[in-house]
Symmetry: C2
Subunit: 352 residues, 2 copies
């Protein structure tokens, strides 16, 4: 799929607001279920929102699907990660073999995991892998833009396409996931630019760098933003200049989910960067997003504080891949069953 | 089962510490799985603890069971709740019909719910109900002790017996639950005495009382503590004087789970009061407990702040019944699968 800038604009304009009428009806039902009003807290607000997304008082979220996009980052040549780039490729094979964290947690909640090569810096071909490589890793953003605008659009299109296929295949709720050594670096860059935060606030230890490397990483991001400063205009240009291929794909997937009125669970720090770009393209896309957890990657809390969004889980996780999305999906599905399976006061003969 | 004070003491002394050797081995495995060290956060510490509880590196938590104890409270005649006492009985029937919140969430995670009448103020007899009534509700604690010491012991014994049967029936993880109109009142009283907190700090709105009733509720608890002050000595005497039958049963169930080395998931505010009594009888019992969530009932946060314990979920729930336990069980089971199902770096051929 070739996506032009104009087509992207047209596409994002097709995202519609939630259905307020259905949400009011959902609230009415929630208020008449056999429990003190509001006593299921955030489960209730999640359920109401899913109803508004699906335009239904009986939404079903049984078919869960996580899309894990893999991509590499040219900026790793600056030494911003403690892990070698080849681990991206190795982990893709681990995903396909079912041995990674996301596989275990997705199996636990009954979700399918699809692994997409959108930009691994190695030629991959394996059974079960969705091959949509745009480029063998981004370019080093400290030396210029990570991607051209066309490449960023192509990666967004991969996310849309994979999201579309997942929905056509029956997925009722989608989760985002990613793998890409070095990808906390472009994510931090995107947070800094798009939320107007200082680089040091949004830069963390990723897979676990020491103090010295952390300071170096902050410097690398500052320099990348400086060298690309003329390109930091629209969300798309910013994504191209200092983003990543898997981050762009996540952005596209979220936009497609929103356009198709399917709830989408945003995984952690890196996925939130993709969601942030989607939200800058069309703020309404956010209404379709559930933020699965507060990552232990420092900076994620600034994302939440600045946007006013609220994560569902607080488990000090920082693995990515879609692990947080897997766990949160199960809670969102639970929330919907509150509406569809709990008895009302009348039905149960309980005094209101 | 008749339980004497001496038998209770002997029983609680049988609770053994976690197995440090197994926990070290679990940590070693966690550190060699294909993920940055520590990146699954609290899932890792939960998994390690389950291994230490079960004395196994391959624990299985598939068979989940929630025990929901129902009991009434004489103190409701002081007007501390906005809901009539008969709702306890009505909700028991709702549980048995499968229409309550705990039923929906337990079904969602594949957990069985057993409903036990340990002290409902009405004669109940229905298929599926476990009848272990100690008393038709507690006495009004504002006029004297809620229970005699013998009654409290009998209720503890009910919890032990039901816990024991659940484990013998194959449960691999237990969850606590309760139903009892008015039971935030004795719970707050227990928190105040056992944690040495001011009554106003631990008293909340329960099912949703207004400001005036909240102040009255605080007064009722203060007066109850004053009139019973000579009885507020040992944990057992305190439980008898200002506790509840279902709270005592939860305490007994937790002690039994700990003695049998079975992880037990503590539901919310009221269940935490039961856990607090268990912990005062033998601090080691806590090592077997997982606190499912931070209740929106104000006071629960003081429980956590004072004890240093950490809840798993933060969803602003305040329904009780075992709803929080159901959701958290699923996460604890997930944590264990990390250890048993994830590949190590060696197994997956990934660079450590």
């Amino acid at each position: 799929m070739i996506l032009s800038k104009e087509q992207l604009e047209k596409f994002v304009a097709e995202i519609e607001p939630l259905d307020d009428g259905i949400m009011d009806a959902a609230q009415y039902r929630l208020d008449h279920l056999t429990k003190p009003r509001g006593s299921l807290g955030r489960l209730e607000s999640m359920a109401r929102r899913v109803c508004g997304i699906r335009k239904s008082l009986t939404p079903v979220l049984k078919n869960k699907l996580i899309l894990t996009f893999a991509g590499d980052h040219g900026v790793v040549e600056e030494g911003v990660s403690s892990v070698p780039q080849e681990v991206t490729r190795q982990m893709v094979y681990n995903f396909l073999a079912g041995g990674a964290g996301v596989n275990v947690l997705a199996r636990h909640v009954g979700a399918e995991v699809r692994v997409i090569d959108v930009g691994v810096a190695a030629s991959l071909d394996a059974e079960g892998l969705f091959c949509h490589k745009v480029k063998h890793g981004t370019d080093n953003m400290m030396k210029g833009p990570a991607m051209s605008e066309e490449e960023a659009l192509a990666a967004i299109a991969v996310g849309m396409e994979c999201g579309s296929k997942a929905i056509s295949d029956g997925a009722q709720i989608l989760g985002t996931g990613e793998m890409g050594i070095g990808n906390t670096t472009p994510s931090a860059a995107l947070f800094a630019v798009l939320l107007d935060l200082d680089v040091s606030e949004v830069t963390g230890r990723g897979t676990g760098v020491d103090d010295k490397t952390l300071n170096h990483k902050i410097e690398v991001i500052r320099k990348s933003l400086a060298i690309n400063r003329k390109l930091l205009r629209s969300p798309l240009e910013i994504l191209a200049a200092v983003g990543g291929l898997e981050i762009a794909a996540i952005c596209g997937m979220i936009l497609e989910a929103a356009r198709r009125r399917v709830p989408v669970v945003v995984d952690g720090f890196i996925s939130s960067a993709g969601a942030l770009v989607a939200m800058k393209l069309n703020r309404i896309a956010l209404d379709y997003c559930f933020f699965s957890h507060l990552s232990a990657e420092q900076g994620h809390r600034h994302f939440f504080a600045t946007t006013g969004l609220k994560p569902i889980l607080h488990l000090d996780m920082r693995l990515g891949e879609g692990t947080g999305a897997a766990l949160a999906m199960e809670l969102i599905e639970a929330s919907v069953k509150i509406i569809t399976e709990m008895a009302t006061f009348d039905e149960a003969g309980v005094n209101a």
